[in-house]
């Protein structure tokens, strides 16, 4: 490593410190960091020791300037980024609310807590949600890929897995009964609950979980 690289490396902490001030404002950390590093390099290259200034005193404003430029350069912030950040915040606010009130907040309650409109909350949730549908997962994080490139499915492994007995058989006994009762014997959630000594709500929750897990197993 050259002197320059080494020096810059040693001072990356300055960049992190500067970036922290700008998180949660629509630009992702990586990009803040990228701009900050650019600022650090500029600061190094233009630093004039003879003026008797500490490097950090000189560098911080340069780094901050580079980061601020990201915000100034056009509302060039992508909606997709903003939504992803908002979706993280929304999920955090949701958990915090549940912890405090013992129930889930409604979207309008979340919107008040977060200070954004209900439609923004919903858009953020859509942008941040990991889609459960198989094909959807291909395009969600990309900005609208036009072509759906089929995932090269490991056919043999899948067809093995797909043997119904095996997959359902792998479930813990209770889950297995639940699935068999609900879907192979077409019992209602109420009936299933009675037979398994659970409440209908428990059956409903459990069933969703199992279905999602099964799906994951089947689509590895």
């Amino acid at each position: 490593m050259s002197n320059r690289d080494e020096f810059i490396n040693d001072n990356l902490g300055l960049v992190h410190a500067c970036c922290k001030r700008f998180t949660g404002r629509g630009i992702e950390y990586d990009d803040l960091y990228g701009a900050g590093c650019l600022g650090l390099v500029k600061a190094y290259d233009n630093f004039d020791k003879s003026r008797g200034l500490m490097f950090s005193t000189y560098a911080v404003p340069v780094i901050l300037g580079e980061i601020r430029r990201l915000f100034r350069d056009g509302g060039a912030v992508k909606v997709s980024r903003n939504l992803k950040e908002l979706s993280l915040k929304t999920n955090r606010a949701n958990s915090a609310f549940i912890a405090e009130h013992g129930r889930e907040p409604t979207i309008s309650e979340l919107s008040e807590i977060l200070g954004v409109s209900p439609s923004d909350v919903s858009e953020a949730l859509c942008a941040g949600q990991l889609p459960l549908s198989l094909t959807a997962s291909d395009d969600e994080n990309e900005n609208g890929a036009q072509l759906d490139i089929p995932v090269d499915a490991p056919e043999e492994k899948l067809s093995e897995l797909l043997s119904l007995k095996q997959v359902v058989g792998e479930l813990p006994p209770n889950d297995r009964s639940l699935i068999v009762l609900r879907f192979f014997k077409s019992h209602t959630q109420m009936e299933t609950a009675k037979e398994l000594g659970m409440t209908q709500v428990q059956v409903s929750r459990r069933e969703k979980k199992i279905l999602l897990e099964l799906r994951e197993k089947l689509t590895v």
Binding site: T90, T106, S108, S122, E123, S133, T135, G144, D148, I179
Partner: protein, 147 residues
């Protein structure tokens, strides 16, 4: 059954419209002020139905997918998802969990998920004509917050 509000949407059977379909339905359902979980359930069910239109109904061609969302008096949501694709030969069989005509790629859980995540689901289909899935879910009305 009084309809309070209704929207109709149609779009091309491209897979990048799956997320669009979820967004539209959530945006409309917002007026009932659901929780994240209720919204996620509905989105998941919509996603399954729309994916089925894309990968099964219009397997070999580009087609149009039609969605109607209705808000029914009392806080019920009705969602119809319709295609003019190949149709389903045996609906009962298709709805069996793990049944799929696309082994190797698909799990055969789409209908099971729709059933489990929504209160009600009805399937109408005619081979060569297309399929309509009608799903319903009630949103729990909470003490109206002070708006």
């Amino acid at each position: 059954m009084k309809i309070i509000n209704e929207t109709n949407i149609s779009f091309m059977s491209k897979s990048n419209n799956e997320s669009f379909a979820r967004s539209v339905v959530s945006a409309f359902v917002l007026q009932l002020d659901p929780t994240i979980t209720e919204l996620a359930d509905i989105k998941t069910a919509v996603s399954e139905a729309v994916t089925n239109c894309i990968v099964h109904a219009y397997k070999y061609e580009m087609g149009t997918i039609y969605i109607t969302v209705r808000i029914i008096e009392g806080g019920k949501i009705q969602i119809k998802i319709r295609d003019k694709g190949c149709g389903i030969e045996n609906i009962h069989e298709a709805m069996e969990p793990l049944f799929t005509t696309m082994g190797g790629e698909r799990a055969g859980l789409g209908f099971a998920v729709m059933q489990s995540f929504m209160d009600k689901i009805r399937v109408n289909s005619k081979v060569g004509k297309g399929t309509t899935i009608t799903m319903e879910k009630s949103i729990i009305r909470r003490a109206k917050n002070n708006e």
